[in-house]
């Protein structure tokens, strides 16, 4: 069930480890949860004008929202922009925001000039950099919180999903269209885990696959919101395509979320059922039911229940 990427190979269970020091645990539920995100990423554009809502219930919320989010980021192609450093920098707008990537760092900041009189050419962008050492450069709509961060690496999951082939482009021009709302510190704990295919020794930390926007980000794939403060942060930015509402406290905001795709993750170990009733009521009053198995090509594994429907936006 670990069918997530494009590369052929035997079906191998995915494994999760609590962190880089812990022993990985291989299990059958990990792959399908990741695959839900990837399926949604591929089908997101087919429900034009309607909002797709998928609700899944899990025995405990741990890792589920983050894995769905990672499946989504793996499945969303990077923005279709040219990233060849010299050609992008030659056309760069003065003071426009750009991201650049070299072997060790992601750099982000306003473009301050290209000096081709020197060899190699140098660019001024949050510091001075040799252009021939840059792997990719892309414009950014909005400035990033940090000017520089260590380059996120990918291993096992990068190879499995094929994102290793365009990793440089993904780092400078990610789709960045995912929001997760939930208990922020729990999501933070989840992100320390390491995901791998089978016995691969080079598993990927969930944080580097999801790349949430923080104070230290010079690039990012996703935004994370705390549900207890979410009311003050509405509305969500327009460029969010998938919102994952992680837990009953977040699902209460379902009616305030207008992104084209929404996933609600119910934790069945939590007694509060009012959020589930709210989702069922929305499905029954305004929703058009949708069969996830036939229309999304996704079947929930044992221990998970799922329902999907669309509503007019």
């Amino acid at each position: 069930m670990s069918e997530v990427g494009n590369r052929p190979g035997p079906n191998v269970l995915l494994s999760l480890a609590e962190d880089h020091e812990s022993t990985p645990v291989r299990s059958a539920w990990i792959g399908p949860i990741l695959a839900l995100g990837t399926r949604l990423a591929r089908k997101a554009d087919t429900f034009a004008d309607r909002q797709l809502i998928v609700a899944v219930s899990v025995p405990s919320r741990e890792y589920a929202a983050v894995l769905i989010g990672i499946g989504w980021t793996l499945g969303r192609p990077p923005a279709q922009v040219a990233t060849d450093p010299l050609s992008v920098l030659r056309g760069a707008l003065p003071r426009g925001n750009y991201r650049a990537l070299n072997a060790t760092h992601v750099i982000s900041g306003p473009f301050q000039g290209l000096d081709e009189s020197r060899t190699p050419a140098r660019v001024a962008l949050a510091g001075h950099w040799a252009v021939d050492r840059l792997e990719a450069v892309a414009p950014v709509a909005e400035s990033d919180p940090a000017e520089k961060m260590p380059r996120p690496q990918v291993g096992s999951i990068g190879r499995m999903s094929g994102v290793d082939r365009d990793w440089a482009r993904r780092l400078v021009a990610p789709a960045a269209d995912l929001a997760i709302v939930g208990t922020k510190s729990w999501i933070g704990d989840d992100l320390e885990a390491v995901l791998a295919r089978g016995d691969d020794p080079d598993g990927d930390s969930l944080a580097s696959l999801l790349l949430p926007r923080t104070e230290k980000s010079a690039t990012w794939f996703s935004r994370i919101y705390s549900s207890s403060r979410f009311a003050d942060q509405l509305p969500l930015p327009d460029d969010v395509l998938l919102t994952i509402l992680d837990g009953q406290g977040a699902i209460k905001y379902l009616n305030d979320v207008l992104s084209p795709v929404v996933v609600c993750v119910f934790d069945r170990s939590i007694a509060d059922e009012s959020a589930a009733e709210q989702v069922v009521q929305l499905r029954n009053s305004r929703g058009e039911p949708l069969a996830l198995s036939s229309q999304l090509g996704w079947t929930p594994p044992a221990g998970i229940e799922a329902l999907g429907f669309t509503v007019a936006l």
């Binding site: 025995p59 890792y63 208990t183 059922e273 589930a276 039911p289 229940e305 329902l307």
Partner: protein, 510 residues
């Protein structure tokens, strides 16, 4: 400690196991319990005929005793709960003897209650046997309430078995293979079977309790892979009675729901009319600590605390429709929290406060005047034609609790529709909203800090606690669990809404 991921893996395995194999329900025939149940049902048939009133206290005591029989099956010598509850039934019944013309029934209820104290409850014996069979280290016992957990724990602790509430079972590492729930499935949240911690789950209850429904998750009915857990019923205990009691087949059976401890709601006293300007429709909400509030639903959320969340993320807001039994509300002594936030905001605004209050009052009274004499639908469509997006909220905007429409554009168009200049009303309302939001954020930070140092396990045990926040000029705050919400609304004075008061309505509740 078990690794988080191994623990999680076990949860998936346990959930799949219950879907595959179902749960076991052991029903224990106990003729003394059945006799009391039968007497209670006769009493309720009488109440169905005569209406409540004189019977209220006896009915409450009888329901409480039935509950104890199910949840507290300790041997009599260790069972002060059961003997006290049986004594109360006897006392209430004797008070009515002579006062109402049903002596035979009253004597039967009193005798049946007394007889319960002459033999150890069979449910307890079956529980004890089952534990011996599987070995106390392989089984965990789950009690229906923290009070029952204490009593069962004292009894079974020396035997080596863990006794927990469902909430505690959620939080601890679980290595046992089987969980024995003391009580029927409906006494526990659906998590007991949809998110089990053990590969096997067994419920033990008296056979006279008729409702053996196994709960399912709220989305199961519509879901792919919906979690439906089947039950196998196993009967043990006293011999089957030779004849079924004829009375039970003659009349409509009384649903178990009606025989569970319930709050005393009375019936609606308000007139059947729309609220006037100083009134709101509100439901009574019974709270832990013998208190209650009137909760109106004017669209404004109410402050709630979630003790299961980590520090810094516990204090939030709940939609009024999402307030259910078990929700923890944050309330201020003697006043509604929103009034206090308003007072803080005006305090910060200073000398201009009165100008702002007048400005708010003037556009709101213009709106009330404008709405008078035309239907809500007319006003809505008129506003919509002007491009007001949230036109459906027009009634809410008259409320003093709603400072202004959310959207700037909506507010400007609304003022235009009222024939009022945009300024100064727009600026005044926006300043007030800004200051109320600021007061709200500051207050949340204070409450988060107080929640961090509070003993939240004590809160879950006791159901309510005072929060230690010193704020000169403001009354104290407390957290309290919602016990029950009235099935009907009343018309109450607007200024009474959400202000806590003392109430004994929960006295017969578990």
């Amino acid at each position: 400690m078990t690794s988080r991921i191994i623990g999680l893996d076990q949860r998936y395995a346990a959930s799949a196991s219950l879907v595959r194999h179902g749960v076991e329900i052991i029903t224990v025939r106990d003729e003394r319990g059945a006799r009391f149940d039968s007497a209670t049902r006769s009493l309720f048939r009488l109440i169905q005929r005569d209406g409540p009133g004189v019977w209220d206290h006896l009915a409450g005591a009888a329901k409480a005793l039935r509950w104890r029989l199910i949840t507290d099956p300790m041997p009599i010598e260790r069972n002060a709960q059961l003997t006290a509850a049986a004594g109360e039934v006897g006392r209430q019944a004797r008070q009515l003897i002579g006062a109402v013309d049903e002596d035979a029934l009253l004597r039967e209820i009193a005798d049946a209650a007394a007889a319960l104290c002459t033999r150890d409850p069979l449910v307890g014996a079956v529980l004890r046997e089952s534990l011996t069979e599987v070995g106390p280290e392989s089984a965990v016992v789950v009690a229906a309430s923290s009070r029952s957990r204490e009593a069962l724990g004292e009894w079974l602790g020396s035997f080596g078995a863990r006794v927990l509430t469902l909430g505690e079972l959620e939080r601890v590492d679980v290595s046992e293979d089987i969980a024995y729930f003391v009580g029927p499935p409906r006494f526990f949240k659906s998590a007991a079977v949809t998110a089990p911690r053990t590969l096997e789950v067994t419920f033990i209850l008296p056979a006279w309790f008729g409702d053996r429904t196994v709960p399912r998750s709220a989305i199961a009915q519509y879901a792919e892979g919906g979690i439906q857990v089947a039950a196998r019923i196993v009967e043990v205990g006293d011999a089957l009675p030779a004849l079924l009691e004829p009375a039970t087949s003659e009349t409509e059976p009384i649903p178990e729901e009606d025989l569970l401890p319930q709050p005393v709601w009375g019936s609606r006293v308000s007139e059947d009319r729309a609220p006037n300007a100083d009134e709101v429709e509100a439901r009574k909400v019974l709270l832990s600590g013998n208190r209650a509030i009137w909760l109106d639903d004017d669209g404004e959320r109410i402050r709630a605390l979630d003790p299961t969340q980590p520090p810094g993320e516990r204090v939030g807001y709940s939609d009024v429709s999402a307030v259910v039994p078990g929700t923890y509300l944050l309330l201020r002594e003697g006043e509604a929290e929103r009034e206090s936030l308003r007072a803080r905001a005006f305090g910060r605004i200073g000398p201009r406060a009165s100008v702002i209050q007048e400005s708010q009052a003037s556009w709101k009274s213009a709106l009330i005047e404008r709405l008078r004499g035309r239907s809500a639908r007319d006003s809505e469509s008129a506003l919509r034609a002007l491009g007001v997006r949230a036109a459906g909220q027009v009634r809410a905007w008259t409320s003093p609790h709603v400072i202004r429409p959310q959207s700037d554009g909506d507010f400007e168009r609304l003022l235009g529709w009222l024939g009022l200049p945009v300024q100064p009303h727009f600026g005044h309302a926006s300043l007030l909203r800004h200051e109320v939001h600021r007061a709200t954020r500051e207050q949340r930070d204070r409450l988060e800090a107080a929640a961090d140092v509070a003993d939240l396990h004590e809160l879950e045990r006791a159901g309510h606690m005072t929060l230690d926040i010193a704020e000169p000029g403001f009354r104290g705050m407390f957290v309290t669990r919602v016990l029950a919400i009235a099935p009907f609304t009343e018309l109450i004075a607007r200024h009474d809404a959400r202000v806590p008061f003392a109430d004994e309505g929960a006295q017969w509740l578990e």
